[in-house]
């Protein structure tokens, strides 16, 4: 069995963001980098699938500068067998269609049975790549899964819908699934596995070899959102704050009579 899991290195969302000079993306300075949270669930599920079927080869793929190899090493330490690093210093500027195009081009002839991606990235947040990869490879796809099972070529998954409702779906492999938060509990890599990961194959492929599609959109401008009008900030001693809040609520809402 061949499994592919696609991950992205993103800034920690706790970081202090600044808009870069060109005004279309965030500035890289002073950011801490980590694996996209959604992708951590994807890696964990891919590793669990590999452990379940036994005879499987699990590739982790990531697009970006050399820096993303650090994040890929975590995936290798979690249990991926090999890494495919698509070297691209301008990965930040690729829109989802291009990212999907690169992944699909890489995966096209490799016969992956299951492809895992995160449901979206924490920085760009478009939620398109996984489904687009499936479309490009003419594979079925299931997005936003919170439960995953595999038995004899059939994937049994649950999609998370609004209001806590889940949809049970079934699909034949090969297929693509995109993973939602809470799908599992991603493991903490053990030290022997961290050491083994250092020796695992991690090949870099220039992005030019795989990028065959053109961008369909671009960021015109990146900016900080305005505070909602009337946003009032109250500061001071707790008792006095409570009195002020009560008078505002009496004035502006109908709930306190």
């Amino acid at each position: 069995m061949k499994i592919l899991v696609c991950i992205k290195q993103v800034p920690d969302m706790e970081s202090k963001f600044k808009v870069a000079a060109e005004g279309t993306w965030y500035d890289n300075q002073d950011l801490a980098w980590r694996m996209n949270e959604y992708d951590e669930y994807a890696v964990e599920q891919a590793v669990r699938l590999k452990e379940q079927v036994g005879d499987a080869d699990l590739t982790v793929l990531s697009i970006g500068s050399d820096k993303v190899k650090e994040t890929m090493k975590k995936a290798l330490a979690m249990g991926c067998d090999r890494g495919a690093h698509i070297a691209d210093d301008a990965a930040w500027n690729k829109e989802p269609f291009q990212v999907a195009g690169i992944i699909a081009e890489y995966a096209r002839d490799k016969g992956f049975d299951v492809i895992f991606t995160g449901m979206q990235s924490q920085d760009r947040g478009s939620g398109q790549v996984g489904v687009l990869v499936a479309e490009m490879l003419e594979l079925p796809s299931v997005s936003t899964i919170v439960d995953f099972g595999y038995e004899a070529g059939t994937i049994i998954a649950k999609r998370e819908l609004e209001g806590g409702i889940k949809a049970k779906v079934k699909v034949q492999a090969p297929a693509v699934v995109t993973c939602q938060l809470g799908l599992n509990t991603p493991r903490y890599p053990t030290l022997p596995n961290i050491m083994k990961a250092k020796k695992k194959e991690l090949l870099s492929i220039p992005v030019a070899e795989l990028l065959k599609v053109n961008a369909r959109m671009e960021t015109a401008n990146m900016f900080f959102p305005e505070k909602k009008g009337g946003g009032l900030v109250l500061e001071g001693e707790a008792g006095e704050l409570a009195d002020r809040l009560i008078s505002i609520l009496k004035d502006k809402t109908t709930v306190l009579k």
């Binding site: 920690d12 706790e14 970081s15 202090k16 002073d30 950011l31 801490a32 980098w33 980590r34 509990t185 493991r187 903490y188 890599p189 053990t190 030290l191 022997p192 961290i194 050491m195």
Partner: protein, 659 residues
């Protein structure tokens, strides 16, 4: 009249006495040697560890602890009972040795006798009282154990055997003395130099000489048999501690206190990290179990045990020993239990009080290392999240690393990257950098330094967590990567002196970072500020304050800094009302051992217990010296509902208010 007595009186000094007697001695000693050689094989299952360096100091340390009963007598009543019993019994041993020396060596070979005259008088009266004191102390210990047993004092067959045998040996000793004196010394001046024996002799003199002689002879042989039995039983019973606890003083950890063994993570041949089985601990960890007397002093002081958590340091030590002797393949983590191992706050109260120099904390950390490094397991998801946050942002709070130096913005201090010419590097720590409450302490400290004309620098966003909570939780890998980055950075700036306001940072930089070649001198802010005040560089207004003071585990027990903080409080005009548990007996706040990152799920909350102790003093302010303690106390006063009675404060705040 010659003041002496006939040795081997009534039993005879011929071959019929000496041959069976020395045969018994040889058998008893042979049993001890053979059994301990066997035990040594069990100890040897553990990893090697050099504990015979500085042998001279080790031996003198051992003698001090054995002969003066220094550690034993730290707990007043039972310590004194044991001490007096020991001294009595030890004198009896010396007395018996002198008798053997004279009768079977000096007199036999050279016709020289020294047990006579004034020396005999002293010898006689000292031994007489030594026997009495031993007997009385044994009685006291017996009553304590069997009639007024303190909670948690495990009492087994061993204890009964020991009490019984000791009592019989002492009683038969007096019977031998009494019968001998009844026949030979009644009415002579010699008798008054053995008052106890004299009393006994007077009360049994009616039996008549023949009966007394028979009784004497029988009792003599019975006494000899029991003494030899006692020796032979040493390896089989808790009598073992006579040898093993003494040896443990010799093999004791000579510090620095609380420094952990660094794992070699570069060693590609290692397949396991930390300990799961006995063979992955050191021989000393197994030996410790043999040195344990189950006195439960550790358990009595364990904050986890005191708040209904499953950890008893005594039990952990003994479970390791039991596994080593009965099932060395056993998985120690399953045997001891994960909740037990995660409960430890590494407060060191157990180790500090242990009369047998047992090292509890490192065992627990070794077992935790295996859980974390080999299984990726933590006491809860919140701890894993904190670990991951530290990997990403260099602090367990998960706050963006770039804002680490923001707190200092308005203080006019620079980072070393901006200006490396400084008097001291202030290693701020995560809480001082990010937590609003503790930022106030960081600011106070800087203001105090500035008032004393000291030029302070910080590392700002380059500083990373010192790694202490991660290391104590068992995550040696994360600790070492954080530590290496910090050490490289600090050495790179050529820093001469570092001051910390966090005792955890202090202990880690001062001790653990030495393995990674940190060059700078490291000082805690309490000692540093005390020097600034006493040298007159820092002037503090004295302003009355009624407070109590909490010794943090890492400034107190781990570094023996008890007086400097108290001197600072006094200099600030404070009067300290000491809590029930203070100084080396201080009670942990709950946040050590990486527990600051973990939810306290079992039992009563340790911080609330401690806050209530502070409330009991009647003081309105709880002064501490550690950001973790302060955090726990701020929570604790809310949890205990005493916010209006008790205000937690750090020493630095106290001083800065009085600038």
């Amino acid at each position: 009249m010659e003041f002496t007595r006939e040795i081997y009186w009534n039993v005879g000094h011929g071959a019929t006495t000496l041959v069976p007697m020395y045969l018994l001695v040889i058998v008893a000693i042979a049993v001890v040697v053979k059994m301990f050689l066997q035990r040594r094989e069990v100890y040897r299952q553990g990893l090697p560890l050099n504990r015979t360096d500085n042998l001279g100091e080790r031996i003198s340390g051992m003698l001090v602890n054995v002969l003066l009963q220094k550690k034993v007598t730290r707990v007043k009543m039972p310590g004194l009972f044991h001490g007096l019993f020991f001294w009595g019994f030890f004198l009896l041993l010396i007395g018996t040795t002198l008798i053997v020396l004279q009768a079977d060596f000096t007199d036999l070979l050279f016709g020289y006798k020294f047990l006579k005259g004034t020396f005999y008088k002293l010898f006689s009266i000292i031994l007489d009282f030594a026997g009495l004191i031993s007997l009385v102390m044994l009685g006291a210990l017996f009553i304590r154990r069997y009639f007024f047993r303190p909670e948690g004092l495990e009492t087994k067959k061993d204890d009964a055997i020991m009490h019984g045998l000791m009592t019989f040996i002492l009683l038969t000793g007096f019977v031998i003395e009494g019968t001998r004196m009844a026949v030979t010394e009644l009415g002579t001046p010699v008798a008054s130099w053995s008052p106890v024996g004299h009393l006994l002799a007077q009360s049994i003199a009616w039996m008549g000489e023949d009966t007394l002689r028979t009784l004497h002879k029988l009792t003599w042989w019975f006494h000899l048999l029991m003494v030899m039995g006692f020796i032979a039983l040493i390896p089989f019973t808790k009598f073992r501690h006579i040898l093993t606890t003494s040896a443990n003083y010799l093999f004791a950890d000579r510090g620095p206190k609380g420094q952990l063994r660094s794992l070699d993570l570069e060693d590609e041949s290692s397949e396991t990290f930390g300990a799961t089985q006995v063979k992955e601990l050191t021989w000393k960890d197994i030996f410790d179990a043999d040195a344990c007397t189950l006195c439960k002093r550790c358990q009595d002081r364990c904050p986890a045990w005191a708040t209904d958590k499953p950890l008893s340091p005594m039990k952990v030590v003994n479970q390791i020993g039991e596994a080593a002797f009965t099932n060395s393949e056993a998985n120690l983590i399953d045997l001891i239990g994960k909740d037990v191992l995660w409960s430890c706050t590494t407060c060191r109260a157990c180790q500090e009080i242990c009369p047998a120099s047992i090292e509890h904390v490192s065992k627990i950390v070794d077992l935790r290392r295996s859980m974390v490094l080999m299984e990726g397991e933590f006491p809860g998801d919140e701890v894993m999240t904190a670990m991951e946050a530290t990997e990403v942002n260099g602090n367990p709070l998960g706050i963006g690393y770039a804002s680490r130096g923001d707190w200092a913005a308005e203080l006019g201090i620079k980072t070393l990257a901006e200006d490396p010419e400084i008097d001291i590097l202030y290693f701020v720590g995560c809480y001082g950098s990010f937590d609003k409450r503790n930022i106030a302490i960081a600011k106070s400290f800087v203001k105090l330094c500035q008032a004393a004309g000291v030029k302070v620098g910080i590392l700002g966003k380059e500083e990373k967590c010192c790694g202490e909570p991660m290391r104590k939780m068992g995550n040696e890998y994360l600790y070492q990567s954080l530590a290496m980055e910090n050490v490289e950075l600090i050495n790179g700036y050529g820093v001469k002196k570092i001051v910390t306001t966090c005792p955890h940072c202090y202990n880690t930089l001062q001790k653990d970072y030495r393995d990674l070649a940190l060059a700078a001198e490291v000082e805690t802010y309490t000692v540093y500020l005390e020097q600034l005040i006493s040298s007159g560089k820092l002037k503090i207004r004295s302003e009355g304050l009624d407070c109590t003071y909490h010794d943090s585990c890492y400034l107190g027990r781990h570094n023996d800094v008890y007086d400097a903080p108290r001197a600072l409080i006094t200099a600030a005009g404070g009067t300290i009302r000491e809590m029930k548990k203070s100084r080396s007996e201080g009670f942990c706040c709950s946040a050590g051992g990486g527990r600051i990152m973990a939810e306290e799920k079992i039992g009563e909350r340790i911080n609330i217990r401690r806050v209530n102790m502070a409330v009991d003093t009647g003081a309105g302010v709880l002064v501490s010296n550690c950001p973790f303690c302060l955090t726990m106390f701020e929570d604790g006063v809310k949890g205990a509902g005493v916010e209006d009675k008790l205000k937690p404060k750090d020493i630095a705040e106290l001083l800065a208010e009085r600038l």
